[in-house]
Symmetry: C2
Subunit: 375 residues, 2 copies
C-alpha cells in the first residue's frame, strides 16, 4: 500500500515535472526539492486514509480485495494527496520554526539557502531560501488538491459499476468536505500552538492543560489520524455508524500519537528522530507533557522550567537537567499511561463496529505502531 | 457584480468565522485579518472570470441575463474564490518581499507583529507576525479551494435545468483543471521573478528581456487575466473557438496589465498606489521596463542602474535620478506603446468572436480600465 502511494506520488510528480520544464529549466530545482521531500516519511496519514476506505469498502464484498486490485486507484490517489499536503505543511512549519533540520537532513529553506550560496547568486541567501520554500509549499498545497480531485474523478468514473453515480457523487462530496475541514483545522491548530509559545505567560495557569490539549486535538489528532480515516471512509460511502466508530478510534489514537511525539521531542534519540536532543525544549513548545510537569513540580522547579524553556541556547547539561526534572515530576509516566489508555479506547471503539474485519485488525496493529515508535 | 462577489465572500467568511469560534476565541484575530484583506481590492480577477462566463453563457439565450439573476450564483462563487486565492498570494508575497505596506496600510505580517507588541507577548514579535501571516495565507488557499468547489457544486445542481448533467460535469472538470493550472503557473512565475532578482548578474544579458517577459506571462498575464477568463468560460461550457478567442484577448491584455504595474512600481503616485515612490527600484525587480532601459542606456548609465537597483536604502534623490534615467532611455515610451498595442490586439481578438455582445463590449471596456489605471 505504501508502495502504491509512492508510485502514485512519483507519477504525479512526473506530470508536474513536464509542466515545469515547459516553462523554464530554472525550475528543475523545484522539482528536485519536491521529489526529495516526498521520497520518505512514515506515511501514517496515507495508511489511515487507506484503511478507513478499506474498512468500509471491503465490508459489502464478502471478501477483502487485495491491496493492488484495480479498485484501489482512487483511494491511493487521495492518500497520496494527503502526503503532498503533509509535505507542504512541514515545509511551511520549518520556515515558521526556523528549523535547520528535518528527518536528520537540512530543512528545505536551508537547502535553498545553500543553493544560493553555492551558485554565487546575489542578495540575501536566507531570503531566497525562505521565499523558495514558501513558494514550493504553496505549490504542493495546490498539487495536493489536484491529486485529491484526480482520486475523486477516478472514483466517479469507476463508481458506475459498483455503485450508482449518485452514491459515488455523495461519497466524493463527503470526502471533499472532510478534506476541506482537515485543511482548516490543522492550520488553526498550528496557529494556536505557535500562539501558546508567545502568549502563555499572560494566561491563567489553570487553563494551561486545556489549551495544550486543544492544540493536540486540532494540530495532530484530527489531522494525522481522524481526518485521514474519515476521508478514506467517506470516499467509500461510509454510513454514519461507520464514520462514528472510526472517529471514536481516530481521535483518542491521534491524541496518543501526538503525546508520543511530545515525548520524542524531549527524550527522543537524535539518531532515530533526525532532530537534535531536547529540540522541543529549546523551541519552548508548551505541550501537554510540559503542562503536566508544571502542575506536579514544586514552585521553584516550575519557575526554573519556565525560565529555561524556549531558550534556543540551552546546553547539553541544561537539556539533561530539564529532562530529569520533567521525568521526576511524574509527567512522563502519566503521559505513558494516557497513551496506553487512549490506544486501548481506540481499539475497543472498533472492536464490534460495522467495519471489515481485516481493516479492524490492521487498524489495531496501526494503533500499536503509532503509539510505540521511536521516531 | 463586484457587490455580488463581496457578498459571497462575506457570507463564506461568516461560515468560517463560526467554525473558528467553535475552536477557540483566540482565533478571532485570524477572522478579523481575513476580513480586512478581503474588504477591498480592484477585483479584476473576479471581473474577468465573470465576463468570461457571461461571454459564453449569455450567447445561447438570445438575451443577456441580468447580473443578479439567480443563474449567476455559481460563477459568483468561483469569482469570489479567485479573490480569496489572490488575497493568500499577496500575503505570502509580502512575507517574501519583506514588504511593510500593502494598499497604503501595514502588510499583514506587520499587523500581526504589532498585535504581538501591543499585547505584550513574549518571544519574537517578527517571528509571530511572519508565522501568523504564513498560516493565514495557507488557510485562505484552502478556503479558496472550498469556495471554488461550492461554485462547481452549485453549477452541477442548477445545471440540470439548462444543460444535461454530463455537460455541467464537463464544464466543472474543465474549470477545475484551469484553476489548478493557474495555481501552479502563478507560483512558478513568482519563483522565476524572485530568482531573477538574485541571479540575473550571472546570466546572459541577451536573455534579460526574454526572462523578464516570461515572468510577466506566468506571474501576471495568465494569472490575472487569461486564467480567470478561461475558468469562467469553462464553467459555462465554452467551446474551443470561444476559449481560444478569450485567450487571444487575455494574454496580450494580461501582459499590458503587468507592464502598467511595472510603470506604476517606478512612477506611481504613492497616494494612489499605496506603495512608496519607486518601490520596485528599491526592491530590485528586473522588469521588462528595466530590461528595455538597460538595452538602450549607454554603458556607464546602465552600470549605474545595475549598481543602484535593489538597494533598499535608495534616497529620494537617487530614486528621482533613476526615474529620469529610465525615462530618458526611451523605455517608458516603448512600454506605453506596447501597452497600447497589446490592448488593441486584445480587443481585436474578440471583435468577431462567437461570444455574447454585451460581454465583448464589457471586455473592451475592461481592457481600457486595466491598462489606463493609476493604482
Amino acid at each position: 500500500m505504501v508502495d502504491l502511494v509512492q508510485r502514485r506520488i512519483d507519477s504525479f510528480l512526473d506530470e508536474r515535472a513536464t509542466e515545469l520544464r515547459d516553462v523554464s529549466s530554472d525550475l528543475d530545482v523545484l522539482e528536485a526539492a519536491a521529489r526529495g521531500l516526498l521520497a520518505g516519511g512514515k506515511r501514517f496519514r496515507a495508511l489511515f486514509c487507506y484503511w478507513g476506505w478499506q474498512s468500509v469498502s471491503a465490508l459489502g464484498d464478502g471478501n477483502d480485495p487485495a491491496a493492488d486490485s484495480p479498485g484501489t486507484g482512487p483511494v491511493v490517489a487521495v492518500a497520496a494527496a494527503l502526503e503532498l499536503f503533509h509535505a507542504a505543511a512541514l515545509v511551511h512549519d520549518d520556515i515558521m520554526d526556523n528549523s535547520d533540520l528535518r528527518r536528520g537532513e537540512p530543512s528545505l529553506h536551508r537547502r535553498f539557502e545553500t543553493l544560493h550560496t553555492d551558485r554565487g547568486w546575489s542578495g540575501s541567501a536566507e531570503g531566497y531560501g525562505r521565499a523558495s520554500a514558501l513558494l514550493l509549499g504553496d505549490l504542493l498545497l495546490g498539487w495536493s488538491d489536484g491529486l485529491f480531485e484526480e482520486g475523486l474523478a477516478e472514483a466517479a468514473a469507476g463508481g458506475a459499476s459498483a455503485r450508482t453515480g449518485a452514491e459515488a457523487g455523495a461519497g466524493a462530496a463527503a470526502a471533499r468536505a472532510e478534506f476541506a475541514r482537515m485543511r482548516t483545522e490543522v492550520m488553526l491548530g498550528q496557529y494556536l500552538d505557535m500562539l501558546e509559545e508567545h502568549s502563555w505567560r499572560g494566561r491563567p495557569d489553570a487553563e494551561l492543560l486545556t489549551r495544550a490539549h486543544r492544540v493536540v486535538v486540532y494540530k495532530a489528532a484530527k489531522y494525522s489520524v481522524e481526518a485521514p480515516l474519515a476521508i478514506g471512509a467517506s470516499l467509500a460511502g461510509a454510513s454514519l455508524p461507520q464514520l462514528t466508530a472510526l472517529r471514536e478510534y481516530g481521535l483518542p489514537l491521534g491524541v496518543a500519537f501526538q503525546l508520543r511525539d511530545d515525548l520524542l521531542g524531549v527524550y527522543g534519540d537524535p539518531a532515530a528522530t533526525g532532530k537534535p536532543a531536547g529540540d522541543d525544549l529549546r523551541e519552548g513548545k508548551r505541550t501537554v507533557l510540559i503542562a503536566l510537569a508544571r502542575q506536579a513540580l514544586p514552585g521553584s522547579a516550575a519557575r526554573l522550567l519556565d525560565e529555561l524553556l524556549g531558550d534556543p541556547d540551552l546546553d547539553a547539561g541544561q537539556i539533561a537537567m530539564l529532562q530529569a526534572s520533567i521525568r521526576d515530576s511524574g509527567a512522563v509516566d502519566q503521559i505513558e499511561r494516557i497513551i496506553a489508555h487512549n490506544a486501548e479506547v481506540a481499539v475497543a471503539a472498533i472492536a464490534d463496529a460495522p467495519l471489515a474485519r481485516t481493516a479492524r485488525d490492521e487498524l489495531a496493529a496501526l494503533a500499536a505502531t503509532v503509539t510505540r515508535r521511536d521516531r
